[in-house]
């Protein structure tokens, strides 16, 4: 295209507003075909991928997509031999489907007849069948009346070669997949969650499994043209894995995965139409990747942020309880119920800064007040809270000594770890079990712990 770029010139010419509008409205035929096609593909892949992920078959799907290559080459050769032009899409896809299934069967065969594990079986099938596919493809180029140009497109994907019919096929397949999943949702849930239980109930687990893999094969096959076989597996697994960070229900996970897949398709299709030299397939996969990172970080279910927040909250609660207990224990020994920061520092192995920070938080919560420049005192509210905390702690200590046979010197630290994570109902049980008075005495001297 543009010949005189220098290497350092990585400038990307920005599209004009007019272009953007043109692309967004899908005015142009080519854009329309590609964008609608990959959106349908993304939806279908998200739906099937959900069950694929729950069945833990991500890499099997990878082997499946690589195994389609010899099928494509053979279908091409057969069609040329029969006098056709060889590049009939339906024919090629049937070949791909057949070999995809052969690949999955080969994996199962290796696993059952040898002592090799899943990983090796997948690797063998993936690489050997892909190698076979490359050999056959090379041979196919020499066929006298076959025009193989474009067959290579199945490897890395070539969305530009799509025509309206292809997009229609993708749409029909996506619809079909959605219907099958709607019908078999219950059965596949059983398959993925508890295969053995389903088998006892009399469900044909093997056939459900085969049907699921057939669905995977169909989606992989329609992904070949746009995304390519190396990256097809990404469409199946990334939206579904991302969806797991948003929901704990399988029905919403299906919807979320379908939406993420569809959106990735849409954004990818548009990006590659707007920016020159952006191959559609890889761009879609990259956008899926962004979705994953986004979900992984901000998703409300086990997302990185939510987990950090929970941890911080717990830590905060723990240090709050610690300072309350320290204040209580220190003021227990004094006449005036007053104490200084130094005394707290002495009891807990905290720095002076941490202690004053915690004390300020206590002040805000009206747990403690400053009575003089140096001295602090627990408020009534703080007293009540602290006595509850101390009580819990000592109950645990007593329990651990009497029931778990832990030495009094260690008991403080163990109780520390347990008390913060257990709720009120357990404390109630503990009280019942130990039949203890309101506040047991500390079984070890306060203030000498490490």
């Amino acid at each position: 295209m543009i010949a005189n770029h220098s290497i350092s010139d990585s400038r990307v010419s920005l599209p004009s507003l007019e272009q953007i509008v043109q692309v967004l409205t899908l005015e142009e035929y080519n854009t329309r075909v590609v964008v609608l096609g990959v959106m349908a593909l993304g939806t279908a892949a998200g739906l099937v991928g959900t069950f694929l992920i729950l069945r833990r078959r991500a890499l099997t799907a990878d082997a499946l997509s690589h195994a389609t290559l010899p099928g494509i080459a053979i279908a091409f050769m057969v069609m040329v031999a029969l006098g056709g032009e060889g590049k009939n899409l339906l024919g090629l896809l049937i070949g791909a489907f057949v070999f995809g299934c052969i690949g999955v069967l080969a994996i199962l065969g290796i696993r059952h007849t040898t002592r090799l594990k899943d990983d090796a079986a997948i690797g063998i099938v993936l690489s050997v069948l892909f190698g076979l596919g490359l050999c056959l493809l090379r041979i196919a180029t020499e066929l006298p009346n076959g025009n193989t140009a474009g067959l290579n497109g199945f490897i890395f994907g070539k969305a530009a070669s799509m025509v309206a019919n292809d997009a229609l096929t993708m749409g029909v397949v996506a619809l079909g997949v959605a219907i099958v999943i709607g019908i078999l949702r219950k059965e596949w849930t059983l398959l993925c969650f508890d295969e053995k239980f389903g088998a006892v109930q009399g469900w044909p687990m093997l056939w459900l499994d085969v049907l699921l893999m057939a669905m995977v094969a169909i989606v992989t096959v329609i992904a070949l043209q746009s995304v390519g076989l190396v990256l097809a597996v990404a469409m199946l697994i990334i939206p579904a894995t991302s969806a797991r960070y948003w929901t704990t229900k399988i029905s919403s996970m299906l919807i979320a995965a379908a939406i993420i897949g569809c959106l990735s398709g849409w954004l990818g299709g548009i990006t590659s139409a707007l920016i020159p030299r952006m191959p559609t397939g890889p761009i879609i996969v990259l956008i899926c990747g962004f979705w994953f990172i986004f979900s992984f970080i901000v998703g409300p279910v086990d997302g990185l942020i939510i987990r950090q927040i929970t941890r911080l909250r717990l830590n905060r609660r723990i240090s709050m309880q610690h300072i309350l207990r320290a204040m209580w224990e220190v003021s227990e020994d004094t006449e005036t119920s007053q104490f200084s920061i130094e005394e707290i520092v002495y009891v807990r192995s905290w720095s002076k800064r941490t202690v004053s920070k915690l004390l300020r938080r206590c002040e805000k919560l009206h747990f403690a007040t400053r009575v003089s420049a140096k001295n602090w005192r627990l408020t009534q509210k703080g007293s009540a809270e602290a006595s509850r905390v101390v009580r819990n702690h000592r109950l645990w200590e007593v329990y651990l000594i009497t029931h778990a046979d832990i030495a009094p010197t260690h008991v403080d630290r163990d109780a520390d770890m347990i008390e913060h994570v257990l709720g009120r109902d357990l404390v109630a049980k503990l009280e019942l079990l130990l039949e203890t008075p309101a506040l047991p005495k500390s079984p070890h001297p306060v203030g000498e712990q490490q």
Binding site: K186, F193, V200, T248
Partner: protein
């Protein structure tokens, strides 16, 4: 000289000459057993004695090297509607995106049938089952947020929702809290009083007398089986737990290697 052990058509589970091998290592060898109807039966034996394998083989979950199993005089395939299964808790992924109620309704799936959605009545039955194990408050809780004992109770509820006649439970008491233990015991006695047959793989010798009426002592073969009072004797336990019968295991292992 040759005596054929016949299958008793009245026995809920009749096992004949059952042999099972995992990776060429025999786990069960020539087991012969008629399980009595309407009783609470514990399967007891040392680790690796084939306790779980026995109930799995009955339910066709592991391939049998030889032997036959009859459920009320018919094959398991024909009688599976009569059988409920509580697998070991570790056998599934508890991070799976489903709530407790969802798991319990799985027990209704075979009644619902192919492709049909879960009906209201099934949810109601599932809720009843959850209620029976004291878990109705947790119905909408995602299963990973349940404690181990609660997960076990969900599994139990799923089996109850199936409403069958024979229950197989694989170590339901394994590392559960007191509340769960109590709930399971209550369910067991309910099941017994309504005439169901319950076979439980059990690992805790202390509680056998208290919880069960019958016991099967297993160590690769059946050492003894019958009423707890008669069978659960020190002598029989010594036989069961007196180490693997090395000579027999050696011979059977050689056999399986062939």
């Amino acid at each position: 000289m040759k005596v054929e052990a016949g299958h008793s058509p009245t026995s809920p589970v009749s096992i004949h000459d059952l042999t099972v091998a995992y990776n060429r290592k025999p786990v069960l060898w020539d087991v012969d057993l008629d399980i009595p109807e309407g009783k609470l039966i514990a399967i007891v034996g040392p680790n690796g004695a084939g306790k779980s394998t026995l109930i799995k083989a009955v339910m066709d979950l592991v391939p049998k090297a030889s032997g036959k199993v009859m459920i009320y005089g018919n094959t398991f395939k024909k009688q599976r509607k009569l059988v409920s299964y509580v697998p070991q808790r570790e056998s599934v992924d508890w991070d799976f995106p489903i709530d407790a109620l969802g798991v319990v309704t799985m027990g209704r799936y075979s009644r619902i049938g192919w492709c049909k959605p879960v009906r209201k009545i099934d949810y109601k039955r599932a809720m009843d089952a959850l209620e029976r194990v004291g878990m109705s408050d947790y119905a909408r809780r995602q299963i990973s947020q349940l404690s181990g004992g609660q997960q076990q109770r969900v599994f139990l509820a799923r089996a109850l929702a199936q409403d069958s006649t024979i229950y197989f439970m694989d170590e339901p008491f394994a590392s559960v809290d007191a509340a769960t233990e109590k709930a399971i015991v209550k369910v067991l006695s309910d099941l017994r009083s309504s005439g169901k047959t319950v076979v439980v793989v059990h690992h805790d010798l202390q509680t056998v007398r208290e919880y069960f009426s019958h016991v099967i002592l297993l160590n690769m073969r059946v050492v003894a089986h019958g009423r707890v009072e008669d069978i659960f004797t020190e002598e029989n336990l010594k036989k069961t737990y007196g180490g693997r019968l090395t000579l027999l295991s050696e011979a059977v292992e050689r056999m399986a290697r062939h």
